[in-house]
């Protein structure tokens, strides 16, 4: 395995570990949601022109829009939602995935989702929404990888 790849793998790992550590401080789910809401509010809003039907992720109770661009082998994601908590969740995903190569994103094992209890804490309908977000992020990456 070439050295630059190893480094990048560590980047993905360290980002996930950082989130796991941050969530480890919270004892109550209300605190975790407080943090998600903060992330949601901090996420740069998307211009309305990008909130198109095409960028809409299906399968969420609230509306989620996601776009991706690839420059110099690095993928950048932008997202928005009409619900703040959903925005916080997608912000978390972007924090982990943005700035990596298409291949890394496509192959990423997002173990932090289970580690911080996000999946089990979301009801099936919302959890499906989370799965849809991850799937869409990986779909973009796969499309860039095949270019």
């Amino acid at each position: 395995m070439p050295r630059y790849f190893e480094l990048k793998m560590n980047e993905l790992e360290s980002r996930q570990q950082q989130i796991i550590d941050e969530f480890g401080v919270f004892t109550d789910w209300m605190d975790k949601y407080e943090y998600l809401i903060e992330l949601g509010k901090e996420l740069e809003p998307m211009p309305d022109s990008e909130k198109t039907e095409q960028n809409l992720i299906k399968g969420c109770q609230s509306q989620v829009w996601l776009t991706a661009s690839c420059n110099g082998g690095i993928v950048t994601f932008r997202a928005d939602s009409d619900a703040i908590i959903t925005k916080g969740i997608i912000a978390l995903l972007i924090k982990v995935m943005s700035g990596l190569s298409p291949k890394e994103i496509a192959e990423a094992d997002l173990h932090f989702i289970d580690a911080i209890g996000l999946r089990e804490n979301l009801s099936p309908t919302r959890s499906n929404g989370l799965a849809s977000m991850v799937r869409q992020i990986k779909m973009y990456a796969l499309a860039f990888a095949s270019e």
Partner: protein, 406 residues
């Protein structure tokens, strides 16, 4: 008032639990109600003592099950004050009841170009069945709009009625706005034009007494699980004069008289509309739920719930960041609200973390959301086992959620 909510709550085992380390506060009663112990026990009783397929058996158990099911039909008849048990059809729920009428009534009494009037506040289950007819060119759906408070204007109805109007299908209590529609007057107007009326009583049956002969409705539907009964069972009441003329909805066992390849004749009412093995366990348990409601007393329920509803509406309105959706003068059982800065999903998620069950979203009434230009609402809906203390908890939790999201 002979009503002690602390005693009532003991009848509902599910209410004892904690959710997210807090005592469960259940305000999603419009979606489904919780079940009293005696309804749960009744289901166990049937399966442990007299489970057998109904109607065609000659043996002891089948006779017991058949008797219990037919007694249940009598209980429903009494509960609605229907003229005859032939007017009580058991279905899977209100949705199937409406689909049955949409299909069978239209076959007999409607032809291309005929119209069905529904309100803008219908649950999808009282809109989509008619739209399906429209797709088959068997009916045209006419919308009766409501105003910004969530009230219907009776004068507008007169304008919508044409000589092609064949049916009026309306909701008694809106599951999203809480509006109690003046169904009695609406029926009077429709009947003055010889138009029959279907009443969707899914959100009414559990909150106040309904007398179908006094209402003079032609059809009335409800689901068992919304009145403390089990899921998967519902009722269609229909006047015999209509039901007897309508063709069967589904074919199969039970609904036939004789069957041969040269032709089949159909059973009499109500069996003509009950193809296949009925959900007799659910039906018997539904009757038990109705007897439970009767034992508490509808007058007691109305008195207690109206106090509770007034308190709920006041407490929600006292939070300046919340805006009520549905402010009709006559409302019952539920409040819907939105904020300017957060999605209903956000509020519902945070309330869940504080142990409170509410419903968020469009509540299967997307035309209402379109009317108000909103993505959904948060809906808190009460049952007679709720308390003012629970409303206080909801109020305080909403304040916390709002301050987090603002």
């Amino acid at each position: 008032m002979n009503f002690d909510v602390r005693e009532i709550r003991k009848d509902f085992p599910i209410l004892e639990q904690t959710v997210n380390n807090r005592r469960l506060v259940y305000f999603d009663n419009a979606a489904t109600t919780q079940k009293p112990r005696r309804v749960i026990d009744k289901i166990v009783e049937v399966y442990t003592q007299y489970n057998a397929n109904v109607h065609r058996g000659v043996h002891h158990l089948s006779n017991l099950a058949t008797t219990a099911m037919e007694e249940s039909r009598q209980t429903v008849r009494r509960f609605l004050n229907a003229a005859s048990e032939r007017e009580i059809i058991f279905t899977r729920g209100a949705t199937e009841s409406i689909n049955l009428v949409a299909n069978s009534f239209s076959q007999q009494f409607m032809s291309e170009g005929d119209e069905v009037i529904v309100t803008e506040m219908e649950h999808h289950s009282n809109l989509v069945p008619w739209q399906l007819l429209e797709n088959q060119h068997k009916a045209k759906v006419i919308k009766w709009a409501f105003d910004d408070r969530g009230e219907l204007n009776l004068a507008e109805l007169e304008e919508l009625i044409t000589d092609r109007t064949k049916l009026l299908s309306i909701v008694y209590v809106s599951n999203t706005l809480g509006t109690i529609n003046p169904v009695e007057q609406i029926i009077e107007i429709a009947h003055s034009h010889n138009i029959p009326v279907l009443v969707d009583a899914s959100q009414a049956i559990q909150h106040f007494a309904i007398d179908v002969q006094q209402l003079d409705c032609d059809f009335l539907v409800f689901s068992g699980h919304k009145i403390y009964g089990p899921t998967g069972v519902g009722v269609l009441y229909g006047k015999e004069q209509w039901l007897s003329q309508m063709p069967p909805y589904q074919g199969g066992g039970e609904m036939i008289e004789t069957v041969s390849f040269s032709g089949t004749t159909f059973n009499q009412l109500p069996y003509k509309f009950e193809a296949g093995t009925p959900n007799y366990v659910g039906i018997i348990a539904l009757a038990e739920a109705l007897r439970y409601v009767e034992a508490i007393g509808m007058d007691n329920i109305v008195a207690y719930e109206s106090e509770l509803f007034t308190y709920l509406a006041e407490k929600i309105q006292s939070i300046s960041d919340l805006r009520l959706i549905g402010t009709a003068e006559k409302r019952a059982s539920l409040v819907s609200f939105v904020t300017d800065f957060a999605h209903p999903f956000d509020i519902g998620t945070l309330l869940d973390k504080m142990g409170i069950a509410v419903r968020t979203g469009t509540h299967c009434t997307e035309p209402i959301m379109q009317h108000f230009g909103i993505p959904g609402t948060v809906r808190a809906s009460i049952a007679f086992y709720n308390t003012t203390e629970e409303i206080d908890i909801l109020h305080d939790s909403l304040l916390r959620a709002v301050s987090m999201l603002k």
